[in-house]
């Protein structure tokens, strides 16, 4: 009655899984999304897929962003998608970082909603996140 529900900011959980400590990209993306009007729940380094699922539930996240700079993306990204499915949560997973071209299609097949390379512009990041959320809504 007293508030406008039309423009609710998107809520995005950002995290890295495993040992890899390269968080420059994750921190830059957090700022890009903030400046694109999103609410970023920043988890940072060394998260587990189980923890990310729990956070996404509590925070009612619209999307999950994972940053990957080691070769782990081929095992960890599908594991994240699988953990969400197992929890019966339909939340898109976006993977950013150094992903070789050959791995892009297999990641999509595994259920990753979008992949952002190291050269992705701020505009591209914002648009991609909005698109994957809208595709599920």
């Amino acid at each position: 009655m007293v508030e406008d529900a039309a423009e609710t900011p998107l809520r995005i959980v950002l995290a890295k899984i495993g040992f890899d400590g390269h968080d420059r990209g994750l921190r830059v993306v957090a700022r890009i999304l903030r400046d694109a009007g999103c609410e970023v729940i920043y988890l940072g380094l060394r998260q587990t897929t189980d923890n990310i699922v729990a956070v996404a539930e509590q925070e009612d996240a619209d999307a999950i962003g994972l940053s990957m700079h080691n070769a782990g993306h081929m095992t960890l990204a599908p594991k994240m998608v699988e953990a969400l499915r197992a929890a019966d949560m339909d939340i898109p997973v976006v993977v950013g970082g150094i992903i070789p071209d050959d791995d892009i299609e297999p990641l999509r097949q595994a259920g990753v909603a979008a992949i952002l390379g190291p050269g992705a512009s701020a505009e591209e990041v914002g648009r991609t996140v909005r698109d994957v959320v809208n595709a599920r809504a």
Binding site: G18, F19, H22, D23, R24, R31, L45, I98, D101, A122
Partner: protein, 548 residues
């Protein structure tokens, strides 16, 4: 150079130092045969306080920088074969890269280690792996560098224990361990324990090596990773030297004399693409370090005041688009490092934005250094840019910006750089400043105000279809897991428990040195992960909570 400056006392003293130095047997003339002097310009000359123009009077006329190429992956045995090949080819130094689980203090059978074992370096779980790594190598004559930080004392204990078991005296071991834990909280994020207990471990290793291993450098203070994480050149300079001051303060607090310890500190800087800014940064680093050591920390030994450093080209500047153009970037960055007076240099391989370097790419990177060293003539004259108005201004400006940051650290640390560094880690100052700089750079590229060739301009010609990328043999991981299981099955579990209990007891006493107990633990075949877990029980585990 004017006649009068050649008559000066400084010039005479420089000339004496130059004459005393051993000079390489090459022709110091231009390509066209014009002979050139070893130095131009005014005092202070190279090798003279505050060393802005270099730490040696003769610089590269005596000795070129060390062309150190960081290598190593696979099993300890694979790397051992490589080491022997390097030694057969006349190399005197071994550089050890460890894999991610080892760097994080976790064993190869940790659940997060899957896919990482032996990938970016060698896996070392136990003393048995260290034994394989250095088997049949004369540890009394080689110099070994180990790039490891969080678990550096464990790696060091394994190295010393293995050397002694092989009949080498610890006093004769020469080398460097990175051991720079402060920058882990600020940038590289390979930490294990919280900052204060980690600094206690650093002090333990510093005291141990100072007392018993005179040829070992226990800390290489590293700005490289701070820059890679997104800092500006001035932030890299200030945070790195600030960490160096913090180690000095911690060592003095642990009872060491500054001159016992400071000469064995070395530094590691990044060389990025803004040519004159990088040169100014490296010149300023020497001047700041000399002044602070002399004036603030009361150093008397000239070697304490000399900032000697290794330089690596900026991995973060390499683009995945048109990767072959990275060769040009690396060449320019390498040249800046040399003109900045580096003691040692690593050049990145052009394919590193995509994967670990292939052998061909690593060869091109090394050849790039060799072109700078032997074809460009920049090595004929020490600090050839000294006296240039722009270069001198840039050097002053880098120093001024760094001093502003030191003033902030002193303010939040109540007059102590060490306390200011702790405070800055606790309140997210370093992480926030670095992230903000990274974002500012990103925005300038995004808006097109800054051109990155191949990324936001000149993008034609990006064809990666025939790119050869290095693939790692997945069998390495299986092999290492079997090896670890075998070591665990063979060892005396009771002895492991006892040695870990003793280590914990020593760790609980802040004034005891943990190194002897650490040596006993590794000799009992306790794994790196078990030792870390035992110490976490005393020190806790660090979780990064700085978000801004």
């Amino acid at each position: 150079m004017s006649k009068s400056s050649r008559d000066s006392e400084e010039y005479q003293s420089w000339q004496e130092a130059y004459d005393a130095a051993k000079i390489r047997d090459v022709d110091f003339e231009t390509m066209s045969g014009v002979p050139v002097d070893p130095v131009y310009g005014d005092a202070p000359y190279p090798g003279q306080y505050p060393y802005t123009r270099g730490v040696h009077a003769s610089m590269y006329r005596s000795r070129l920088w060390t062309m150190r190429m960081f290598a190593g992956f696979g099993t300890a045995e694979d790397t051992n074969l490589r080491f022997k090949e390097i030694l057969r080819n006349g190399g005197g130094g071994l550089s050890t890269a460890f894999d991610m689980p080892t760097l994080m203090g976790r064993d190869s059978d940790h659940e997060w280690s899957e896919g990482e074992v032996g990938r970016a370096g060698v896996a070392v779980d136990t003393l048995a792996d260290m034994r394989d790594l250095f088997a049949d190598i004369d540890l009394g004559s080689v110099s070994t560098s180990m790039t490891i930080n969080g678990p550096s004392n464990i790696a060091m204990a394994m190295y010393v224990a293995n050397a002694e078991d092989s009949g080498f005296d610890r006093a004769g071991l020469a080398g460097t361990i990175q051991g720079d834990i402060l920058k882990e909280y600020q940038a590289q994020k390979e930490y294990i324990f919280p900052p204060r207990p980690s600094m206690r471990l650093v002090s333990d290793l510093v005291r141990f090596t100072t007392a018993e291993m005179p040829k070992w450098n226990p800390i290489s203070v590293s700005g490289y990773h701070i820059r890679e994480a997104g800092s500006t050149a001035a932030q890299e300079l200030a945070f790195t030297l600030g960490n160096g001051f913090a180690y000095i303060e911690a060592a003095v607090a642990a009872g060491l004399d500054v001159d016992d310890f400071a000469p064995r500190l070395s530094f590691f800087f990044n060389s990025h693409s803004d040519f004159f800014e990088e040169i100014g940064k490296l010149r300023a680093a020497r001047r700041i370090w000399a002044r602070w050591l002399k004036e603030r920390y009361g150093a008397k030994n000239e070697r304490s005041m000399m900032c000697r450093f290794h330089t690596q080209t900026a991995g973060v500047s390499l683009t995945a688009q048109q990767p072959e153009i990275n060769i040009a970037r690396v060449a320019i960055q390498a040249l800046a490092g040399v003109l900045g007076g580096t003691q040692s240099l690593h050049t990145d391989s052009f394919d590193e934005a995509l994967a670990l370097p292939t052998e061909d790419a690593a060869r091109i990177a090394l050849r790039t250094q060799q072109i700078v060293a032997h074809e460009t003539g920049v090595t004929n004259v020490a600090d050839p840019l000294g006296g240039s108005p722009y270069v001198e201004w840039m050097t002053d400006e880098m120093e001024r910006r760094a001093e502003e940051i030191f003033a902030h650290l002193l303010e939040i640390g109540d007059g102590s750089i060490l306390e200011g560094t702790y405070a800055g880690i606790d309140n997210g100052y370093f992480v926030g400043e670095i992230a903000e700089s990274a974002y500012r750079f990103e925005r300038s590229v995004n808006s097109g105000r800054r051109i990155v060739v191949g990324v936001n301009e000149f993008t034609d010609g990006d064809d990666r279809s025939d790119q050869q990328l290095l693939k790692i043999d997945p069998q390495v991981e299986d092999y290492q897991l079997k090896r670890l299981a075998h070591v665990k099955a063979e060892r005396d579990d009771e002895a492991v428990r006892a040695s870990l209990a003793k280590l914990v007891a020593v760790a609980e006493e802040p004034n005891e040195n943990t190194m002897p107990a650490m040596m006993e633990a590794v000799r009992s075949m306790a794994t790196e992960g078990e030792i870390v877990a035992a110490l976490e029980g005393v020190f806790g585990t660090y979780v990064e909570t700085a978000v801004l």
